[in-house]
Symmetry: C2
Subunit: 124 residues, 2 copies
């Protein structure tokens, strides 16, 4: 899709999903955890449910996909990426998914994921 080279993350209120994708994700210490691979939208509520963080792997092989509650990500202008307040180990030990398993219905796993990261529910 069309992308422009200038980042519009700063004080904007709207952000393009295309621009979110590919953005690096760091922990609070500045260690890189991965990058945003995709964004999952909840159709009924019209809310952004998860950012899908891709970690590890090489050229798409062996990558793990972690659905991160959208509300947990804060954009850091200096880092040019999102900051996620978890340790790399916490992310490694979190439940991960194959890319295709994140579409569909998250009723079974969303409580687990939101409890794990101590994040507010998007579906309430």
């Amino acid at each position: 899709m069309t992308t422009t080279p200038t980042p519009a993350h700063k004080s904007s209120t709207l952000i393009s999903a295309d621009r979110v994708e590919g953005t690096a994700v760091f922990n609070a210490k500045g260690d890189k955890l991965g990058h945003v691979e995709d964004v999952m939208l909840h159709k009924l509520s019209g809310k952004v449910a998860y950012a899908v963080i891709s970690c590890g792997g090489f050229l798409g092989v062996g990558e793990k996909y972690h659905p991160i509650p959208w509300s947990l990500l804060t954009y850091d202008i200096d880092k040019s990426g999102y900051v996620l307040p978890v340790e790399p180990r916490q992310l490694e030990e979190a439940r991960s998914f194959a890319a295709g398993d994140l579409e569909g219905d998250d009723t079974e796993w969303r409580r687990e994921v939101h409890t794990y990261y101590n994040a507010p529910a998007y579906w309430m």
Copy 2:
């Protein structure tokens, strides 16, 4: 980004932004209006604000971008695309934007757009 060939639009509750992008948009009669070029997310509320519909143009030149309130789009399995209850002419006459102008702050134009399409406000 990684995409899988199987469509997951049907009865799923979550949809990937990557999959929404590129999907055709029709009016109620079945005329093709364009396709979804991007999805705009409202950072503060965590809501999906607009689907950006791209109409006309050739290889990206002369295309117009229309922000369509997300709540107006209904997926139609038979059409393999979204249905938007407007006439092609209504879309042509709607305010359109350059791609980059849709990021940032929509406070100035969102009321106009939502009133034009008679759509509920995402920011309430």
